[in-house]
Each structure stands twice: as structure tokens, then as C-alpha cells.
Symmetry: none
Subunit: 205 residues, 4 copies
DNA sequence: AATGAATGAGTCTTCATTCAT
DNA sequence: AATGAATGAAGACTCATTCAT
């Protein structure tokens, strides 16, 4: 019970921080506001986190950890690279949709300032791109996808993905993000040469 | 002459601001540092700009204005949508390369905080995407490019483009950004269905 | 047994506090650190002491009590004022040497701030000076020592004594404090007119 | 005029700081209070001093500089070591009397905490003791004063001096400090063997 | 008696902005 | 137009103290 309360508090702080960081950005969020929203005293934050910056990192890692686990799980079940890529996209969008505040931080708030933060950001994009690269390589090995620079391609795919999510966030999540999955998948699969434009056109029909 | 000096100072402030905002982010840059780097007194900034935030917007618009003009000029000379898209990509990368500090701000620093900034950001992405959408629509009309949701596609293309530039910025501009043009063009054109993967493969040979 | 444990804890807290107060000063020592060093929980300190300040006073009185008792005992055994003064000096230095942390607090840390502390400090210096004054008065009555303002003289003696100890503390107790006893005694006894400089020179031989 | 104002402000801050540091101690003085007493805004302190600690050091050095200069000047005019020692004592007390707040800091407040402060403290006591040592050495060379360990003796003299001043400060400067000069001089000169107790007794008559 | 998580008042310090010169 | 000293509001963080367990 006591244990639970503790966990509860940490979670509440992270959750409040995610909300504010996502909404107004790191620098426009005061620790006082986070504490208030989390229903704890100002000093309590510093029991769980060494600094505001560390809290940001925690928010981030919390999100990233779950995110990556679920993505890897999700694609593991898929039989072939194309299916994996489809799953990656749709699951990725789903995860973002579940947690729009963290999504926003993940996609943009971290591109700021300090070295600590930069490192974390890099690591996170890397995590995402790593998965993409794995799928791309498998696709190339199987001949399902055209020959391409895996590194660069992964970055582009990730960029297209990000942009789609950011549009949605910028629109205050006013439409289901999943509705973009088909278009995005199409664009990416064709771009990867997984399917000719004819095939895709037919399937669409 | 006096006029020129004035212009000179304004420019110097904008330039210094662009440098610092791009390097350390908006919130980690003090107006004092900008003034120092621009070789003006602290108060002088407030003769040219109402606030720090307005300076950020100015930095941004300066960059965006030139950027858009040159992009529009560049594609105007191209004969067909595919060539325009190619030009858009290569010229876009060139412009970013010319001005890495502003590029950084353009791509990431602005995704922060206040309403004022958000509006500017939105407008800027919009400006970029507008051009892309125009080209896409023309492409669809001509049948050069497959049928697609222009809005969504433009966003994805822009995302792929952004991601490529950000990778380059994150790598401290250690390689020529132009070297990424071919790969990016390939990915986008194929994704748009402008060319089959065979055609592209042949051309590469 | 339970009683003993309690006493044990109180002692451990006082001892830890003395160490830290002496080393880093009252204000640079947190109750948390004291608790940790004493091997008790943060709240436990407040079972034994009403406040941090009261703990300081306790540390101080603990030290002072033992100190004064032993000084009084020590000089009681001596036959004449000169011998008493000698004993006072050598025993005083010994006691300081035994307990350098408390010595440091006694000599300098207490010259700070609040009324409560000031009172305690005054009382402690007073206790020390009282003993000195008693010896001086006896010396004057016996004609062993020249006529002087007892109050002022006691203060000066105490100052010379303090300074000697502080030098030693400042040198990280790198030499035996007792080594200073002879020089200090000489200076004081001559200053008191207990002995001509010739007499003292002879005795030294 | 402008220059004067600036100097004025720095001085006012130092003066206010000296007052509070001396009265309540460094840690019990807030920068806000200093600013208020100095008639400046809170932030203004940080234009002149990098930190509160640096302000303390400045207060201290200001005092020490003038102090030492005047002491050296004062003894330079005296013909022989004994006269110099007398002058040192009376002038020292005078200087302390002129500036009781700084005196208090000089004598006790600095024996706290941080390395920065410790260094300054050491340096200051050293400055004082250096002068004393010089005079003592000259005295020994001339045969005016008995052979003794100069280092240790200087420390004791300084201690006796300090103690006299602190008593006065502790008594809220309720009597002229100069009234202690004779007693202190007597004690020290006799202690140094400059004069027999008979001689001193006669002179007193 | 003991714990240690939680509190929240208190502080130093920063920095955008102003304004007298 | 330009300066830069001065402002003072704001914010991260600390820590003595409390209290439910």
C-alpha cells in the first residue's frame, strides 16, 4: 500500500510533467506547476528526481521504453518484412495516439539545449531508426525492397512518420491518427519499391 | 549612410540571434549574449525588436522569406512536375546548407511554447508544404504521379526532407548535405509513383 | 538496555553533529547528513532535540561540561597559583586535542548569529574565563603575580590560548598541540609577571 | 557624476553587507536584505559581485586592505620595536573601533565553511601576524625582547588582541576600545620580556 | 521510540526589459 | 539612435521539520 503510494507519486509527477512539457515546452513549464498538477509539494519532485532536467529525461525514457518494447513485440509476430513495415507504421501511430503528450515531447521538445538532453534525443531517434533499419535490411535480403542506403532511408521514413504525427498533434488530435496509416503505409512501401504503383493502385480498388 | 548603419545593426542582431538560437536554443540564449555578439548594447536590441520573442520571429521570417523566394524561383524555371520536385529537393537542401543555424531553428527550435511562436511555425511549415502541394497537384494532373492525398503526402515529403537535414545538423554538418540529395529524390519520386523501381534502377546505371 | 540504546543514539547524534559542525560549520551541515552519519533516521533527531539549533547547543554543552569539570579537577590538585596556571594551560590544550571537532566549534563556530547561540557562547567563554580569573585573583593575593585588571587579563590569556589552538586546527592537527604548551606557558607567566625573564631563561636551561 | 554614482552603489552594497554579516552572520543575512539596506534592487548586487560569497570576500578585503596599509604606515614612523609594538596595539584597536561591523567579520564570521572563505581568512590572519612577526624579529635582533618562537608568539599576541576586541564587540561597543590599550600593551610587552615587572610598575605610577 | 516520505517556506540567482543620459 | 546600469519578477532547488505508520 505504502509502496503503491510511492509509485503513484512518481508516476503522477511524470505524468504531469509529460502533459506540461508536451503542451507548453520544457522551458515554459515550472516545477511548481508540475507539482501542483501532480498533487504534491514543490519539494517532492526533488525526492524522485535530481533536477528538472532529469525529470524530462525520465518522462522521455518512460515513454520510449514502453514504446520500443511494444514495437518490437508487434513486428516479431509478423511473417515478412513488408508486413513488418506495415505493422511498424500502424502500431507506431497507435502508440503515439495513446500518449499524445509524450509523443509531442518525443518528436520535438527534446531538440533543445543541453548536452544531456541532446544525448537522450539522439538515443531515442536511434532506437526508432534501428528498428526501421532492421526491417529494411531484412527486406533487402529477401528482395522485397529495392536496394537503398538503409541509414538514409530509415531517417526519411522516420521523418515522414514524425511529420504525420506532428500534423495530428498540431491539429489538437482532432481526428484519429490511425486514419493516416493507410496513406503513410502506401507512400512508404512504394517508396521502398515493395510494390509497383500499379499493384498499389489495384489493391486500393 | 545612417540608414545603412541601421540596417547593418538590425542585420547583425538577427544574424547573431540566428547563430545562438540555432546552436543553444531560444531559451538558452540571453539577449545579453546576442547583443555582445552583434556588437551592440543590450538596450539596442529593443530599438529594433519589441521583445526577444519578436526577434526570434524576425530571425525566422528573414530566413523563410529568402528561402521561399528562391524555391519558387528555382522551380519556376523547371519544365515539368518531376523536374520541379527534383529541383525542390536539391535546392531545399542547398538553402539549408547555406544557413545551418537558421535551418536548425526552422526545423526544431520553433516547435516550442507560446502561441505567437506556434503560429509562426505553422505558417512556415505551411509555406513549405504549399509549394510541395502545388507541385504534387500539377504532377497528378499531368498523370506523372499517382493519385494520393496531397495534404498528407506533402507532409510526409516534408518530414523526410526535414529528417535528412536534421541528421546532417546533428552530425555537425560534417558531410555535404547535397550528398543526400540523390537518395532523397529517389525515395520521394518512387514514393510518388513518378517512376517505377525498374526505371529508377536503370537510370542509376 | 532500552535506556542504553537510547543514550547510545543521543550520543551518536551529538557525536556526528560535533564532527560535521566542526568540519564544515553549522550552516553547511544538514540534519540529514548528521542523521546518516549517526545511523538514525532523519526524524529521530527530533525525538532527542527540539531543533537543529538545540542540537548545536547540546553538542556544545556536552563538550563544555566535561571540559570544565576536568579543568577544575586538574587545578584543584595543584598547590599554588603558578602551578595552577601551568596546569590550566597544559590541560586545556590536552582537552582540545582530544576532541578537535568540538574544539573547533567551541572556538569559532559559535560566533554566529542567533541570540540563543550567542548566549551559549558567552556563557562558555565565561566559564573558561571564570576559572582563569579565579586563578589570577589567587595569584594576585599571594603576590605571585603583578597587579592587573583580572577581567581584561583573563580575556587576553584566553585569546592567546584560543589562537594557539586555532592555529593547530587550521593546520589540520598536523602536530601535537601539547608541543605548544611550553611556549604558551612561558608567554603567559611572564606576561603575568610571575617570573622575570631571567628566571624563565634559567629554568629553560 | 555617473562614475560617482556607480562607486557609490558598490560602496553602499559593501557597507550594508558588512553591517549585516557582522551583526547576524553571513548565513543569517539574505541578499534581499542587503539590497534593501543598500537601497538597490536585488539584482543589482549581482552586477557588482558574482555571488553572495564573493561579496563577503569583497567586504573583507576592503577592510583588510585599508587596515593593513594604515598599520604599516603607523609603525613605520616609530623609532624602535617597543614603540612599534605599542603603536601596533593602539592603532589596531583604533581601526577596529572605527569599523566594528567589519571587525566582527574579520575576527569571527569568516571561520566558516567553504574553501574560498577559508583561504581568505587564512590570508588575513597571516597579514596581521606577518606584521607582528616582523616587529618581533626586529625586537629580538635589537635585544629588546627575549628570545622566543616568533611564529607562536605572534599568534598568541594576535589572540590576545582579538579577544580584547571581541569582548568589546560582545558588549555592544559600550566602552571605548582604546581604554583597553594600556592593559593590553602592558601584558604583551611584559610577556615579550621588553620590560621587567618592576619597570612597568614604576611607569604605571 | 523509530522511521523516512512529504512538506513548503525561504533563498540565491538570472535575465528580459526599461530609461536616464 | 545608442548606451548599459538598474530593475524586480520569476524560478529552481534546499532543507529543517512534521507525521502517519
Amino acid at each position: 500500500m505504502a509502496r503503491k503510494r510511492v509509485g503513484n507519486k512518481r508516476e503522477r509527477i511524470i505524468s504531469a510533467a509529460a502533459k506540461f512539457f508536451g503542451e507548453r515546452g520544457y522551458h515554459n513549464t515550472t516545477t511548481a506547476k508540475i507539482a501542483e498538477a501532480a498533487g504534491v509539494a514543490a519539494g517532492t519532485i526533488y525526492i524522485y528526481f535530481r533536477s528538472k532536467e532529469e525529470l524530462l529525461v525520465a518522462v522521455f525514457e518512460e515513454f520510449l521504453g514502453v514504446h520500443m518494447d511494444r514495437l518490437r513485440e508487434g513486428i516479431a509476430r509478423e511473417p515478412d518484412p513488408e508486413a513488418k513495415m506495415r505493422r511498424l507504421i500502424s502500431l507506431g501511430l497507435e502508440l503515439m495516439e495513446e500518449n499524445p503528450h509524450s509523443a509531442r515531447i518525443f518528436l520535438s521538445q527534446l531538440r533543445q539545449s543541453t548536452e544531456m538532453i541532446k544525448m537522450v534525443t539522439k538515443r531515442s531517434s536511434r532506437a526508432y531508426k534501428d528498428i526501421i533499419e532492421e526491417v529494411l535490411e531484412e527486406g533487402m535480403r529477401c528482395g522485397v525492397c529495392r536496394k537503398l542506403n538503409v541509414r538514409a532511408a530509415a531517417s526519411m521514413l522516420f521523418g515522414a512518420f514524425q511529420s504525420t504525427v506532428l500534423d495530428w498533434v498540431a491539429d489538437d488530435s482532432s481526428y484519429p491518427l490511425a486514419s493516416q496509416a493507410e496513406e503513410l503505409t502506401e507512400f512508404i512501401l512504394i517508396g521502398l519499391g515493395c510494390r509497383s504503383e500499379e499493384a498499389s493502385r489495384q489493391q486500393a480498388v
